[in-house]
């Protein structure tokens, strides 16, 4: 059985798609057959970040409507053959997604793949609801600012009440915090919430802190997931996150300037 991961946040622009691209690539690079699904029907960004926008023929809505098979719609990633992408439709709106349709797709993908990463759209409407409904794990992407934290809190509430696991009374969705666009300098100068401030409100299991980094934008524009840029701090942060998710113990980095510098000097002990 595949493990279904939803990457969600409530608020837009916090790095859900960047995260989805990075962790799905990370999981595939670790040897797990992974598929990443773009649930942002109507906007379609994931294929751009994955650099496969020119190879999109069919999309998730075509599959739901029976106009294409799943295999026709899946795009094999050019960097890693264990990774596939199921793109969103740009010409439809979110109402074209149905619960039954999504369930059928996930069931079929579960037979073939080890991890299914669902890139949720912003907001708490149909698209976001369907992206998280069948999830086993939730990666809650949060920026260190109040409205993002508040929206994440709201999303966590929905995860614990409006998901299939909650409705069936099964073991709840495992929730993880990914704090993105973190800048220790700005935390120090009081412009940004600190990790402690965020955890004070959300009290979640921290999977990793992703530092604010130029490489995210460069990678996005180049159409390669940032995790492939092994030299960049954001790429390393995502690699840590994937490793931690898979059960490795790695010390947290990028939380304050000093420890980052320190570890660089001594190569992480």
């Amino acid at each position: 059985m595949a493990r279904i991961i939803v990457v969600t946040s409530g608020k837009g622009g916090v790095g859900k798609t960047t995260t989805s691209a990075a962790i799905s690539m990370g999981l595939a690079k670790k040897g797990h057959k992974t598929v990443v699904i773009d649930f942002d029907v109507g906007l379609r960004n994931l294929d751009l970040i994955m650099g496969c926008e020119r190879r999109v023929v069919y999309d998730i809505i075509n599959v739901i409507n029976g106009e294409a098979t799943l295999n026709q719609a899946l795009i094999k990633d050019k960097n890693c053959n264990l990774l596939s992408i199921l793109p969103a439709s740009q010409t439809r709106n979110k109402d074209a997604l149905t619960l039954e349709g999504v369930e059928k797709i996930l069931e079929e993908l579960s037979k073939d793949f080890k991890y299914i990463v669902c890139d949720s759209p912003a907001g708490i409407e149909t698209g976001a609801h369907l992206a998280m409904y069948f999830a086993d794990d939730a990666f809650v992407v949060t920026n260190p600012e109040v409205s993002s934290v508040r929206d994440s809190d709201r999303m966590l509430g929905l995860l614990s009440s409006k998901s299939r696991r909650a409705e069936r009374g099964e073991e709840p969705i495992k929730e993880y915090l990914l704090l993105s666009r973190y800048s220790p300098e700005r935390v120090k100068s009081g412009e940004m919430l600190s990790l402690d401030d965020v955890q004070d409100i959300l009290s979640l299991h921290l999977l990793g802190v992703i530092p604010e980094s130029k490489s995210v934008l460069t990678s996005s524009n180049a159409g390669t997931p940032v995790i492939l840029d092994e030299k960049s701090d954001a790429g390393q942060a995502y690699a840590d996150i994937v490793a931690r998710y898979l059960g490795e113990t790695r010390p947290h980095r990028f939380i304050d300037e000093k420890s980052g510098f320190f570890r660089k000097l001594f190569g992480g002990k």
């Binding site: 809190d153 709201r154 009440s161 073991e171």
Partner: protein, 242 residues
């Protein structure tokens, strides 16, 4: 032209939910009950006019006071209220109610309810995040998130934080053993004796029996200190517990 009577059903059963006030009786002194009811109704005569009520005899039966339901029903009727059901009643009272044409609710008091109408939205039966101590107390052990609402027919105990934008309501007392950032409303059915206890008060709103204070009116000095909130002459008092 006659309407074809088969084109639409003349009778149809539908399921619907109503919010009905519950009148809890804790004494068998009918004169006293009538006095108190009259006083209450005088406060909002329009609201209570022909209002349906469900009579809860749990308290009076717990005290083992003999109460003749027929007499009580007459007293209630005199005040203009309609008794549409009884609950927590004993067999004799049930027989009387049936003979008066008043339905008897024998189901256990709907003790635990979470407002969004999911039977158990935040629980997996295996772990004890959602425990009922007795028939009316609700205990929550997981953080209450923004946008969530929890309702307790009795006391509410929260062993975690209550997020900003969350709302907790109880007909009895509220205890929060974490940071309270959302809204907390105790005594929502008018129990002025209800209190709110919390270990760190940063609430958006606190209310007891409809008397409320918003965060701006709660002095910041009490943050990080365990406090209790109670009603004194219709004013909310926020005081350290010890």
């Amino acid at each position: 032209m006659t309407i074809n009577s088969h084109s639409f059903p003349a009778v149809e059963f539908k399921s619907s939910t109503f919010s009905v006030p519950v009148l809890s009786i804790a004494s068998n002194d009918l004169i006293l009950i009538q006095q108190l009811l009259d006083e209450k109704i005088k406060l909002a005569p329009e609201f209570f006019k022909h209002s349906p009520v469900v009579v809860d005899l749990g308290e009076v039966n717990k005290k083992q006071l003999a109460l003749d339901f027929e007499d009580l029903a007459t007293v209630i009727r005199k005040t203009g209220l309609f008794t549409i059901g009884i609950r927590n009643s004993n067999e004799a009272q049930q027989a009387q109610a049936i003979s008066l044409g008043i339905p008897v609710n024998t189901a256990p008091t709907s003790d635990v309810r979470v407002e969004n109408r999911k039977p158990k939205p935040i629980t997996a039966p295996a772990d004890d995040e959602f425990v009922t101590n007795d028939s009316t107390t609700v205990t929550i052990t997981k953080p209450i998130r923004s946008g969530q609402r929890i309702y307790s027919f009795g006391d509410l105990i929260v062993l975690a934080q209550v997020g900003a934008g969350a709302e907790i309501l109880a007909e009895g007392n509220i205890h929060v053993y974490g940071t309270l950032r959302g809204r907390a409303l105790a005594g929502v059915q008018g129990n002025t004796e209800a209190r709110i206890f919390c270990s760190d008060l940063q609430a958006e709103l606190i209310s007891i029996a409809g008397n409320y204070k918003i965060s701006d009116d709660i002095h910041g000095a009490v943050a990080n200190t365990p406090v209790q909130i109670y009603l004194q002459k219709n004013t909310l008092v926020v005081k350290p517990i010890i």
